[in-house]
Each structure stands twice: as C-alpha cells, then as structure tokens.
C-alpha cells in the first residue's frame, strides 16, 4: 500500500534528483582528484663518480593527499642499460608516516602497471615521461615498489626521503639520469599522480671509449654491446657539425679491424661493401658484418675498429670530432 504513491511519482522529477546527486558526487570526486599531488622537491647527487663506484642519489618528495588510500610507493630510475640496475641498485626511503628505512624491490618487467592499459612500468614510463634527452638508445627505466603497502588518510602532507644507491659499471660515460615517483593505485594515470625529474649530464670516469648520451655524436655504432659476428650499424651525422663531407653526394667507410693479435685489417676502397646509405639531412648509415667484411678466419677475433668517413674519391676524410683522428669502437659483450 505504501509503495503505490512512489510508483505514481512523476518520472521526470526523480531523474532530475538523481542527476543532481550525480553531479554533486562527480564534482566532489573531481575536487578530490584535482587536489592530490606528489612532488620531487629536489634531487641530490654528485656530478661524477669513478667507474665501478656507488652513485648515491637522494630524492626529497612531498605527497599531499585528499583521499584515504592504501598503496605501495613506486620509485623508478632511468639509467644506462649497462649498469644493470635491477641487480645493482638498492632503494630505501624514510617518511613522516613510517619508522626506519623502508625497503623497495624491483618490479619485474612485464608486470602490468596500474591504469596503464596493460603496459608494464618500463614501457609506460618511457611513453609518458620519455628519455630526458639522452641521445643513445641504450637506456632503460627500472621501477621499484615498496615492500609494504601504506595507508594514508585524506588531507595529509607527507614528506619522504628516498635513498638510491646504484653501483655503476666501469664504462666511461655521460648520461642524464631520470627519476619518477608514484604509487601502485594511480600509476601514471594523470600528471598530478606522479612526479619526474631529470638530472644534468652526469659523468662516470671509467674505462674505454666514452659513451656520450648527452651530446650529439657525429658517429655512433649500434649496438654498443656487440662482437665481430654481429651486424653492427655505423652512422655518420654530418648535421652535428660542418665537415669536409658537407657537400658529398656519396659517403664511404674507410675502416680497419684490429685483431686480438694486434694486426690491422684495412678495408678502405670505395665499393658497395663500404658505401653508406643516405638517410637525408646529411645523415648516413651502413650495416656491416665485420666477420665477412674483414674475411676473418674461424680463429680470428676482432677487439675493435678504427674508422673514417670519406667521399666517393676517398680524398676527403672525416674522423673524430670532424678531424683527422679516426673514430674508435671496442667490441665488448656485457
């Protein structure tokens, strides 16, 4: 008997009431979402270390909450692949809401990131945050979760100090490290839910050829980790600086393979084997298989390469920094 009047209530009025309620709820949700934030206040790290030493980094982080939430804290670092950070880094943090150092562990690559459309953390970080201006492709994002999840209350301001210790490799390199903080619930769903910061060019005074991620290179070899039985890609970027090959219509490699016994095997004739492919904008590329190019026997091994770029006549040579010194490349596999 009591339900009848409800059934005869005008439908329009009920719809308006529900709509108003949803609008209010939506506005409140928007207010809550819009006012959550996480910030990296500063990054403290040295400008250089010696190869093989520990790189200590401190991130001072502020988190402002407007909602109750239970999440794991996420810290990610952008580093050269050769550092193998997943095995060689320790990350801990302290905060207002915890006691003592809190441990963190690597999130295995392939584990889907929250609200990441199925992408894992490294892929999502690369897509959303980028590479910080590092010019060589041999870098990686590695993400860590806190070993414990933490409950936070609404309208709290939490300060956290993140301590990152990375054992660098012995490689001689220049790199712009990157850092990101977020949580396991929101992921990188909106720009106020995470914070990222990139350091200036950082130097490792190590051994071997300088691997310079920071400055445009007139020539690169890809992959950096390769042996003489790999296909390697040698590039020449004439757009980096003016050289004797500025107006060359064809560019060739003039290259020597250095064997383990110290012999120099030279290939310096302008043929199809050494002719580089034009990529436009005075960029050139050549894929070589050193094993075949230098006709190595099964017992011969190359330790490195020395090379120039020449024009079709072989008269104009361009070497390191545009000069007469050859570029060098050391074969290695780490």
């Amino acid at each position: 008997m009591q339900e009848l009047p409800k059934q005869h209530k005008p439908k329009g009025k009920r719809k308006i009431t529900a709509g108003v309620i949803w609008k209010i709820v939506g506005a409140l949700l928007l207010l809550i979402i819009a006012s959550c934030s996480i910030t990296i206040n500063n990054v403290v790290m040295p400008s250089s270390v010696n190869g093989g030493e520990i790189l200590p980094v401190t991130l001072n982080v502020t988190i402002e909450t407007n909602d109750n939430q239970t999440s794991n804290f996420m810290v990610a670092v952008l580093v050269p692949k050769v550092w193998k950070v997943a095995q060689n880094a320790t990350i801990t943090f302290t905060s207002d809401i915890t006691s003592g150092d809190q441990g963190m562990s690597v999130i295995p690559a392939g584990s889907p990131a929250p609200q990441g459309g199925g992408l894992d953390w490294p892929t999502l970080l690369a897509n959303k945050i980028g590479n910080g201006g590092n010019l060589l492709p041999d870098y990686e994002w590695v993400a860590f979760y806190s070993n414990t999840s933490y409950s936070v209350v609404a309208n709290a301001t939490i300060h956290a100090t993140v301590s990152i210790k990375i054992k660098t490799s012995t490689d001689n390199l220049l790199f712009k490290p990157g850092f990101c903080v977020a949580n396991s619930t929101d992921g990188l769903s909106s720009s106020d839910r995470y914070a990222a910061s990139f350091a200036n060019c950082f130097r490792v005074n190590g051994q071997g050829d300088l691997i310079d991620f920071c400055n445009p290179q007139i020539s690169t070899v890809d992959p950096r980790n390769s042996l003489d039985n790999d296909i390697i890609t040698v590039t020449f970027d004439g757009g980096v600086q003016s050289t004797a090959l500025d107006n060359a219509s064809q560019v060739y490699l003039c290259i020597a393979g250095i064997t383990a016994t110290g012999d120099s095997l030279v290939v310096c004739t302008q043929t199809d084997d050494t002719k580089m492919t034009a990529l436009g904008l005075n960029k050139w590329q050549k894929d070589i298989w050193p094993h075949k190019l230098f006709n190595l026997t099964n017992n011969q091994r190359l330790t490195g390469l020395r090379y120039y770029f020449t024009d079709g006549a072989g008269a104009n040579k361009v070497g390191y920094a545009g000069g007469a010194t050859p570029f060098t490349f050391t074969f290695k596999c780490q």
């Binding site: 039985n229 290695k332 596999c333």
Partner: protein
Amino acid sequence: MKKILVLPILCSLLFFACKPELLIAPLEPAKDLSGSWQIIKATRNGTDLTMRFNFSQFRIRFTDSTYTIDSLVPFIVNRSGKWAFDDPTYPFTLSFQATDSSAKTSPLLFPVTGGQRNLIITFSPGCSANTYQYTLQKAN
C-alpha cells in the same frame, strides 16, 4: 493392451537407434623441413634489418637429418652439419650441430602465413645481449 505393447517396442527402438560414434582424432603430421629456405625477414633487437643488409643470397638446405648453408650471413651456426627437432610432430625448438661443434638450439615458430609455411628462429650469433630473429620461407 495395445498401449502396454507399444511402450516396450518404443523403448527397444530407442535402445537400438543409438549407436556410439567412433571418434578418431586426426593424426598430426610430422613437420617437414626438407628443401631450400631463404630469409624473408630479419630483425636485430627488434629493429628490422631486412632491407638494410643483404640477406638475399643466403640459403639453407635441409635434408632428413643434415643441412648445408650457402652465402653465410650471421646465423646460429656458421658451418653445415646436422639438425633435429625436439619433437617432430609438435616442434618447439630446432637444434643445429655444425661439423666439429657442439649443438646450438633455437626456439622455433612454424606458422603458415598467406598459404606459405614460415620457419622463425631466434638466436645470438655474436654478443648474447643481441637477439636476432629470422623468418625463412621455402625458396623457389
């Protein structure tokens, strides 16, 4: 009386009408590699090298248990020798044993695309950090 007789007759008809179907699973044929194969696609660490490096002359000819290579490119082995599947019917790996060398094994995919059987192998001919994937098809 008639009704009493009809019911058992119907029941017996039903009983004899049902015959168990003999289900024979089709036999999966052993995979056949025999013939000459060429590289139609090559990647290094995911980068497509097919049009950048000359793979066109490379041929690998499989017989029942041996293979020979012509015009070598970076490959899982660099000499002719013997080959084997882990399972001839459902192969997941393909191993090559070059003469006077130990066997090297590659994960194997064997899909049919566009009516053509593809042989997809993955290996590292140089530094183990670099992964190459070649897709081969039968050469005409």
